[in-house]
């Protein structure tokens, strides 16, 4: 599903953000990407989203090498993944329903499909009753659920989450994580960049540990800081 082959990324500033990273995340897998801030995990996410280009190496997503993907094909690559951010990135002047439907407008879904699909994902994330509310009327956890619903609404093959619990209190963080787990159970590949140590330790999922741009550990059922 996602494969990095000897990928390095050097920014124009000279910072070597990722050094010769190779890993492979299979279809249906749940993987954590952990590391301190500045370790390079955000860069890894950006490379997956093709927001940044690798300096060397190849990135293969859904069996396709995206290294030489033309810029005008990038939107279609991104439609195969649902993306969740630490700061939710909801549109403040649109209701919960509209925020989710928005993602479907973009892929030119039919109105019928939108009317059917949006309530379905909203009930999946437990927000059926709040469809008409605006983001500022919701708690952080609820906002992140909206973001998750938006990521899920087009049935992507994978969910990429960059610090999805970074702005949430521990209890809410757990809600979001178990929701991600549930989504994973339904067959969607989930990649979560995080430094929520406790959660990672308890969930016993695959952990890819990155430090100073180098993948130092790739543990199939690991914790946050197992000895290297």
């Amino acid at each position: 599903m996602i494969e990095f082959k000897n990928v390095s990324k050097r920014y124009d500033t000279g910072t070597m953000a990722v050094k010769n990273a190779s890993f492979r995340i299979e279809k249906g897998e749940f993987a954590f990407l952990v590391g301190t801030s500045g370790s390079g995990k955000s860069t890894l996410i950006k490379l997956i989203l093709k927001e940044e280009e690798p300096t060397s190496g190849n990135i293969i997503i859904n069996g396709k090498d995206t290294t030489f993907l033309k810029q005008n094909r990038v939107p279609f690559l991104r439609r195969s993944m649902g993306i969740v951010f630490q700061d939710f990135r909801l549109l403040p002047d649109k209701t919960v329903y509209e925020n989710v439907a928005f993602a479907m407008y973009i892929v030119k879904a039919t109105p019928r499909h939108i009317r059917r699909q949006v309530p379905m994902v909203l009930s999946l994330v437990g927000l059926s009753g709040k469809a008409k509310m605006y983001p500022n009327e919701l708690s952080g956890g609820e906002q992140q659920r909206v973001a998750l619903a938006r990521a899920l609404v087009n049935n992507p093959a994978m969910i990429i989450a960059d610090e999805p619990t970074g702005n949430l209190d521990p209890e809410t963080a757990w809600d979001i994580m178990s929701l991600l787990n549930e989504i994973n159970m339904r067959g969607t590949t989930v990649v979560v960049a995080t430094h929520a140590k406790e959660i990672v330790d308890q969930m016993k999922k695959r952990v890819i540990h990155i430090d100073k741009g180098v993948i130092v550990k790739d543990d199939k059922k690991g914790g946050y800081d197992c000895e290297i």
Binding site: E51, F76, I106
Partner: protein, 297 residues
Amino acid sequence: MRFNVISYLIGEGLSNIFKNKKSTISSLMIMCATMLVFGLFFVIGENVNAFVDNVADAQEIRVFIVNTATDEQVEQVGNEILSINGVRNVEYVSKDDAYDSMREWLGEEAVAGYEENNIFPASYNVTLTDLELNEEVQEQIWQIENVEDIRSSNQTIAQVIRLAKGVRIVTAAILVLLVVISIAIISNTIKLTVHARRKEISIMKYVGATNSFIRWPFLVEGIIIGIISGLISVAIIGLAYTYIANKMSGSDFMEMISWNLLEFKSMFNLILTVYLGLGIGIGIVGSSISMKKYLEV
């Protein structure tokens, strides 16, 4: 594209306009102002053109034929004049016609005795397709045999033509200036909207929106501002022009040049087309310029 997508994109464009009332209104006002300045020169230009055409119709070259010419030679002169490039029509005035008109003009006594011995020459009244060819045509007529004399008031014609040309150049220059200024203004207005919505744009990019999908609402915004400015301008120009034309009709000046201003009706279609074309074109170019930077995520 499906209908709901189109209506979504247009709806977004419309809501942009209402969200940024201040910048929309200021760009509307400036676009109207420039369009009005252009419109002012445009209506003046149209009137000068119409005046030139009017003068052209009244202005003829009179070609007098030598008295000794035979009927065949006279006909020959007529045919040769007609074959000159730039001549629209020739009208034959026979010696008898000349005598009649002289008698009418000067009175019975003045022409008495000339009826038998007609000294008034036959002539051709030549009308031109293009006034600017006046001098060339005259030169060529001089080459024709049996031509006695040519009369034409080419002095006035040349001046009027020069004036018409000047107005056309100024109108064109103003048009170019208008386009440049308006593109700058509208792209700035849309830059504000784009900037206000950069977060939304980046979200759209992450969800997989294509650049053209993101661009459309802003294009719609630019186009709508352009169209509205065009409509407002055409209304203002129309009302002001009709008012002034009414005031001027019957004034001494208009009597003097024996001519009336064009009715606005006759220019309406052209000016509306030009305004809308400009508005839409400027809207598209302006919004495209302002979008460029924000599409690179």
